[in-house]
Symmetry: C2
Subunit: 137 residues, 2 copies
DNA sequence: GGTCATTTGTACGTATGTATT
DNA sequence: GAATACATACGTACAAATGAC
């Protein structure tokens, strides 16, 4: 599997597709490190910007987590706590603000659930650790 | 309000903060166009990459939508359809795959709701047009 | 603590491609 | 076709975080 700059598909998308395939195949397993930017740059003969855009794309999909000065890692599947949606409550999904992301310790590419109960009280829940349920009657 | 490259905060974050403030103040109202990349570059005396990173940040927060060859626009608040979470169902929030984004016509920075009913059937709903509710008893 | 190598982050410049008007 | 605007992609340089020693 290789990258061809002459194709219609942008180089960075080709690299993202390639890495995503390796992740989904389990070749890059949850928790394991992606090759460094330098390695990806050299091995595929492309520029660093294309490499960074590819990884940024995977981050925004919630597949990858990047630690500055350390590397990028395949995100592990988190445990989800089941939260019961109470009668008279409503929930929406949206991206967190910068403040919310810091407060909740959310990775990039992770939405939040905003739940509003019958009293109008709002709660913000981390999207990757929450499952909203309504119990069977 | 101005941008100072000497501050600890990166230039692109400063610009994003500045634009976000103007959006939240209503100075840049929903549907209206942000200044072009060229204008922002000139007016703030910064490079184009910093401008693009700022807008990219706002996009990932779901605040802004960018149309190639046209410009970037403040995203309008969409109407939300209320969907009842059925008994025995569960819902999670996550980012869409590339395919899902195209199929649902989602802007960047918009998550999906993945609802699984008691029969195990899965439905993917656009996060910016959906509100999950459980009716009052 | 301090230094070093590694790795990602920020920021600039330049050039060309592609979509819209 | 022309003008405008965003997208892709290269190169360069330096800053900042991390881990190893």
């Amino acid at each position: 599997m290789s990258i061809d700059p002459r194709l219609h598909t942008p180089v960075y998308v080709q690299l993202a597709d390639l890495l995503r395939t390796r992740i989904e195949a389990g070749e890059l397993s949850p928790g394991s490190a992606l090759p460094s930017e330098a390695r990806l740059t050299q091995e595929h003969g492309i520029g660093r910007e294309a490499v960074r855009m590819a990884i940024s794309l995977l981050r925004s999909e919630g597949l990858v987590r990047t630690v500055r000065g350390h590397g990028s890692y395949v995100r592990e599947r988190t445990e989800r706590r089941s939260i019961e949606l109470a009668a008279g409550s409503a929930a929406i999904a949206r991206m967190p603000t910068g403040v919310e992301r810091r407060d909740l310790g959310l990775d990039e590419g992770v939405p939040v659930l905003e739940v509003r109960n019958a009293q109008g009280e709002v709660e913000i829940l981390p999207g990757d650790e929450t499952e909203l349920i309504r119990p069977p009657r």
